[in-house]
């Protein structure tokens, strides 16, 4: 409440005040895949989620240091970064599980920084937490039912989740702790979907899963997006993130080191941002390429804001 809303470029201010249902239609219809390519058009709309100068402490440790981001309807916004970069903390803070020491989170034009996590969930911020976090003693179907208990109105139902994951219906009476990791991940996604969120936060979907399973799960993303969702995902697996993302942000030790469209950043830039190397050092490092540079070419210019490529970042 304390801060004035940032002026959304060119977006109709009325969009902020109209009711949620109308906004939903709005967001979905204005975000077909083709439009995502142009930065200017991206900025045309009001962000559905806006994080400003977010600082979070875990005890003495400053896990996030003035992180800002704006997610627009229909996007796949990927946050990458190494272990301990603060990615999960960022998502958990957006979901309301951590309290920021500074900064604000605005969702759909409303300041939700002080809103309890369950209220955020019912207003449309869904999350698939790291490590799945299913209700282990409940069956697959019960997990989905719990997810649907306080659902918003929308396209997703338990039936529709069964259609998305064909195997699930036959095993719906099984306890989820007996499922494999990939299956559990699918149930976790289903549990988040049936609540019909407008923004879906995906925390490390690939964690602890075989590459084939990871690909299969990410393969579901287009179908999920087709229902009009916006996705904010966190991923250590850079190549996977680049494959699906329409916007990219790299964190290192709680700070943003790179931001831009995947097509505008080079492999070297991503590497430098990911590991905190200087650009010169990054070229050298690309020889031993920890990441598979198959996705991007170096066609873009430095339109991405590389705010922190100094040696201080490379500890």
């Amino acid at each position: 409440m304390s801060e004035p809303p940032r002026e959304p470029k060119g977006a109709a201010p009325s969009g902020l005040t109209s009711d949620e249902g109308a906004r939903r239609e709005d967001g979905a219809s204005r975000a077909p895949g083709g439009e995502r390519d142009k930065q200017s058009e991206r900025e045309d709309r009001a962000p559905i989620l806006e994080v400003r100068d977010l600082t979070v402490h875990h005890g003495q440790l400053r896990a996030l240091d003035r992180i800002s981001l704006r997610v627009f309807p229909g996007e796949v916004y990927a946050i990458i970064g190494a272990n301990g970069a603060g990615k999960s903390t960022l998502l958990r803070t957006i979901a309301g599980l951590h309290h920021p020491t500074e900064g604000s989170i605005r969702y759909d034009g409303q300041d939700v920084t002080k809103v309890r996590p369950e209220r955020r969930a019912t207003s449309g911020i869904g999350m698939v937490p790291e490590g799945r976090r299913l209700f282990g003693s409940l069956t697959v179907e019960e997990n989905l039912q719990v997810g649907a208990t306080y659902a918003r109105k929308g396209p997703w139902t338990i039936e529709r989740v069964y259609e998305l994951f064909a195997w699930m219906k036959d095993r719906r009476a099984q306890r989820t702790e007996q499922l494999s990791g990939g299956e559990q991940q699918a149930v976790a996604i289903g549990r988040a979907l049936v609540a019909n969120p407008r923004v879906l936060l995906l925390d490390e979907l690939s964690l602890g899963l075989a590459p084939v399973v990871v690909q299969r799960i990410y393969g579901m993303l287009p179908q999920i997006l087709a229902s009009g969702l916006t996705v904010l995902l966190v991923e250590q697996d850079v190549s996977q993130a680049l494959r699906v993302a329409s916007h990219l942000q790299c964190l290192l030790e709680g700070r943003t080191t790179l931001e831009g469209k995947p097509s505008d950043v080079t492999a070297e830039q991503v590497e430098a941002a990911y590991f905190g190397l200087r650009p010169a050092a990054a070229e050298q490092a690309s020889e031993e390429a920890l990441w598979s540079g198959s996705t991007t070419s170096s066609r873009g210019s430095w339109s991405a804001a590389c705010t922190r490529c100094s040696p201080a970042g490379s500890r």
């Binding site: 369950e118 937490p129 003693s137 019960e142 719990v146 208990t149 609540a195």
Partner: protein, 280 residues
């Protein structure tokens, strides 16, 4: 047959531990409050003793919800250990409050119905009072109902989900504090029922809660296995039977026998007879 009574005491304790990890040290005193409330309700409304639960149980359930949402939740927000202190404090407050207002005289809920007060015998040694049989049946019905509620109903599902993972439940839009409140309401309702049953079976004074009821409830829960409703019933029955056998040997061995069984279970099968699957 006293086992039914013990099980009735223990299931609320077990539920509160299973869902919110609260070891409710005031549990026995709450049963006694249930008994006193019943005494009050009966003197005011002249309702038959057997039917007093219709008023007492909902009253206690509301008290449970309120206490959980205020005092116990505040303790939980700090740490699990704080809940031990807080419920212990509650226990002391309740006990002394009752002493203050009702004196140390013991009360009972007399039932003057001949069918209830008489007993029947099996063989020459064992005689069973109809009252205890009734309590046992009530206990089984309550446990069945609880089981059905937890496994089938919407709120039961939420309670289990919250017990599994609070944070994930929040991400699904569930206010776990409300769910805790409901679980506490159920626990308080069952303990009120147990308090009334105890008042009909025996007599209670302000100190009965911690002196006997709480200990027996704990013993029943531990023997049966934490978090298992049917284990609780089994634990109650075993405790009751061993006490009866002990009493046969010598009047003073009654409680001793119960605790020997309790210790034996702790040594031989610390997870309880019907162990709940381990959750990590």
């Amino acid at each position: 047959m006293v086992g039914g009574l013990y099980a009735l005491f223990a299931c609320g304790l077990s539920l509160m531990f299973g869902v919110m990890k609260v070891v409710n040290l005031a549990h026995g005193d709450l049963a006694v409050i249930g008994g006193y409330v019943a005494v009050g309700v009966i003197t005011v409304t002249h309702i038959p003793v057997l039917w007093s639960f219709v008023i007492v149980v909902p009253l206690m359930a509301v008290l449970g919800y309120v206490l959980q949402r205020t005092v116990i939740q505040a303790a939980l927000d700090r740490s699990i250990l704080t809940t031990l202190l807080v419920t212990f404090g509650l226990s002391v407050v309740i006990e002394n409050g009752l002493l203050q207002f009702f004196s140390a005289n013991s009360h009972s809920l007399g039932v003057n119905d001949a069918i209830i007060t008489s007993s029947f015998s099996i063989g020459s040694q064992i005689s069973i009072a109809y009252l205890l049989l009734l309590i046992f049946v009530v206990a089984v019905v309550v446990l069945l109902g609880l089981q059905y509620f937890l496994s089938r109903s919407r709120y039961g599902r939420l309670i289990r989900a919250v017990a599994d993972d609070q944070e994930a439940a929040q991400l699904s839009g569930i206010d776990y504090r409300h769910v805790f409140g409901i679980a506490a309401a159920i626990a308080f309702g069952t303990v009120a029922l147990a308090g009334i049953a105890y008042g009909m079976y025996s007599q209670f004074a302000p100190t009965t809660g911690t002196d006997t009821i709480l200990l027996f409830a704990f013993a029943a829960v531990v023997i049966g296995g934490l978090g298992s409703l049917w284990g609780t019933l089994l634990g109650g029955v075993i405790l009751g039977v061993s006490q009866a056998i002990g009493a046969q040997i010598s009047g003073s061995d009654e409680f001793l026998a119960g605790y020997i069984v309790f210790l034996a279970v702790l040594v031989l099968r610390p997870q309880g007879l019907i162990a709940r699957r381990s959750t990590s």
